[in-house]
Amino acid sequence: MKKIQYHLLAVLLLLSAASCENEKYLFGEGPDERLSAILTEYQNTLCEAPHGWFIAVGTQDRGTAGGAYRFWAKFSPNNRITMYGDINTTTATTEKESSYRLKAMQLPTLMFDGYNYIHWPADPRPVITGATTGDGLLSDYDVNLVGDLQGDEFKATGRLHNCPFIFTKATAEEQQAVTNASGLTAIQSTVENFWNTLKYPTIDIDEFRLQLSIGKRLSAFNYIDDDGNVQTITIPSYPEFNRDIRLTEPFEYKNIWFDRIHWNGNGYEITTNNHTYPVYEFEVPFYPLEFGVGKMYNTLTIDKTALNTPAGNSMIDPFLSIYEAAEAGLHTSSTRDLDRLLIIFELSDQGIEQMRLRVMYHSGTTNYLGEGTFKLNRDNDGYIYFTDFAIASGTVGSNMNGTNTGPKMATNILSYLLHSGLSTVGASAIIIPPSENKFRIDWAPNNTPGLSGNLGGFYVVNNPASYIPGTLSN
């Protein structure tokens, strides 16, 4: 027994001594060697794409200027890079050279370490992007790389703002299109123009209905969730050269997942769960319009030039005649040309909901803005009616109250809006004849080719054919 113990001890000793030989590095080489090898491998992958890479970044700012920005870049082994960008036609047609390097940070990182187009969305100078001073569009240019970058496409993440990046190898034709034909901005226009012709593009994924709003940098999706609330998801996106819309992050809801809206030669479709669903047009959005203070929309912009074009009219009689009477009234008095009207729902200084009517017009090269407010009332059926017209204070009030503005609209626009009671306008207190109109607010059909955005209408309850159409905003 003792002997067995000694033998066992001897074997253990041998084993423990031998084991140390292999314990030096768990993965065969030291971390620095491995890091160095992976940086070299990444650099080779980037440099070896014969026609360069498309690099798309989705900014965290998803406002007017935010969304996906796309660049074409050719990497050289000597740390130099040449680039085009889809920021504007200049960046799409002018090659810019700078530098890059791969650096071991917390992760292997691709750094665009000299200013180029890819830095534009991240530039914190407000004169560059128009975004908040110091923020830029919350974009990245240090890119963390992980995994093996095999294949024609890989994804990565920005270091500072976690912006999504998609790297795609360009083909010879694509490189040609970028370098010779401002391809990056040309495809944006092609695709944007197509989507602008679609009215309320919608997809039915079995029972689930989705309305799409596709711009050159952002895609917005509206749907009704399980609680009956309208939800909007906005995802940075960009058009590929085959006209597909590529989302920088997938759309995900329940078991629905897609990151591409595919151009099939005639129209768009999406594929999810191995089924393909086409995009079709709707006359108006399928979900209820929410208009009011704190709602999805609170402003209706009534601009005849935008609504009515030779190709089609979204402002129709009887309201069209009323609008044109106001237009003519303003014009004859002092050649003031009506640009547009805005109906804005807001809170008064006392915290009560009111309607602000804004009249925008010009005389020669001078622009004017006049304002007045109405008391906003709701009846038992939920219909809206306006009373107690009052001139706003300050210059905007004077611009509304002047002889050539308010009084010229008293018998048309102001009367159409005013439900009841005695309200006056102008220095000589011209009485506005009340119309007794009550309104129901709903979507309005968009009959104007090329006019994008959602249209809303204030429909006269007793005469639904009569309505004020306009583009909705907040």
Partner: protein, 286 residues
């Protein structure tokens, strides 16, 4: 006996692994700084700044040089040569003329970090930093354009300002400097009215931040704008402000002469040999 053997065996097992040693030849990635293939610009900077002054001009982006939470953009390398040439003419050469060629080599910080944009801090923006007499950071390099004298002056003034910090970080100004405007220094200088700083004896709002900034601001304003500008400025701020500014001016003249053997102003009218005059001439020739 059995116990002794067991103990020996255990010790041997423990010791078995202590033989591993670090390989002194293994190369640590990134040790010695980042590398890249040198360009014409790298060669130019090497010959103009590294060889004569042992100054490193770091124009390539490195996030660890900056506040990791803030947004910046890298330098557009097409601006670097123009900026550094101007900086050499307006800042380095006047000091060399006044204090000899070894002055800059000895005193000036060895590391210069450039970045394309400003650093935005809510309501204020930072134009430059000086750290411990070792490093000067110049921001907003992408705005540098010789065709825009306002921008050129602002960026070069920043460099001058930061260098003055290096001077007083090396040998402090006399303590009486701190007493001239003692009651007017405030951390919330940015919210003080613009009409206040002149009559209180300052050349800028930022000078009110603390005596160090006041020292750097006063000197860089005079050097970059000239003696006549300073005289005109003093007449515009009222008697009290002028008296304080004059007292500061006297301290500056004495500080440069006694500590650094530099004539701040020319030795007689028209000689053009003072630091301020030489700098003014260099600006005019840009």
């Amino acid at each position: 006996m059995k116990r002794i053997l067991l103990c020996m065996a255990m010790t041997a097992m423990l010791l078995a692994c202590t033989k591993d040693e670090l390989n002194p030849d293994s190369k640590l990635l990134g040790m010695g700084g980042d590398t890249w293939e040198r360009t014409e610009l790298d060669d130019w900077l090497y010959h103009e700044f590294v060889v004569p002054y042992n100054m490193e001009i770091k124009y390539k982006w490195d996030p660890y040089e900056f506040d990791l939470e803030k947004n910046y953009v890298p330098v557009d390398e097409t601006r670097v040569k123009e900026l550094m040439t101007s900086l050499k003419k307006v800042w380095i050469e006047p000091y060399e003329k006044q204090a000899g060629t070894s002055f800059i080599k000895k005193i000036a910080p060895k590391r210069y970090v450039l970045v394309g944009s400003l650093q935005y801090n809510g309501t204020t923006a930072t134009l430059g930093f000086a750290e411990g007499g070792n490093k000067i950071t110049i921001l907003d390099v992408n705005s540098f354009d010789l065709k825009d004298p306002t921008i050129v002056r602002r960026i070069l003034k920043t460099a001058e300002h930061e260098f003055v910090h290096t001077l007083h970080q090396t040998v402090l100004y006399p303590t009486e400097w701190q007493t001239i405007c003692r009651e007017s220094y405030t951390g919330s200088y940015n919210s003080t009215p613009d009409s206040e700083f002149g009559p209180a004896g300052f050349v800028s709002k930022y000078a009110r931040a603390n005596p160090d900034e006041d020292f750097a601001e006063t000197i860089s304003h005079i050097v970059m704008n000239g003696r006549q500008w300073f005289e005109n400025y003093m007449t515009s701020v009222g008697a009290d402000g002028a008296a304080k500014l004059r007292a500061k001016e006297n301290i500056i003249i004495a500080y440069f002469k006694t500590i650094w053997n530099i004539d701040f102003y020319e030795t007689y009218d028209g000689a053009g040999d003072g630091l301020v005059e030489i700098t003014q001439e260099a600006i005019a020739r840009l």
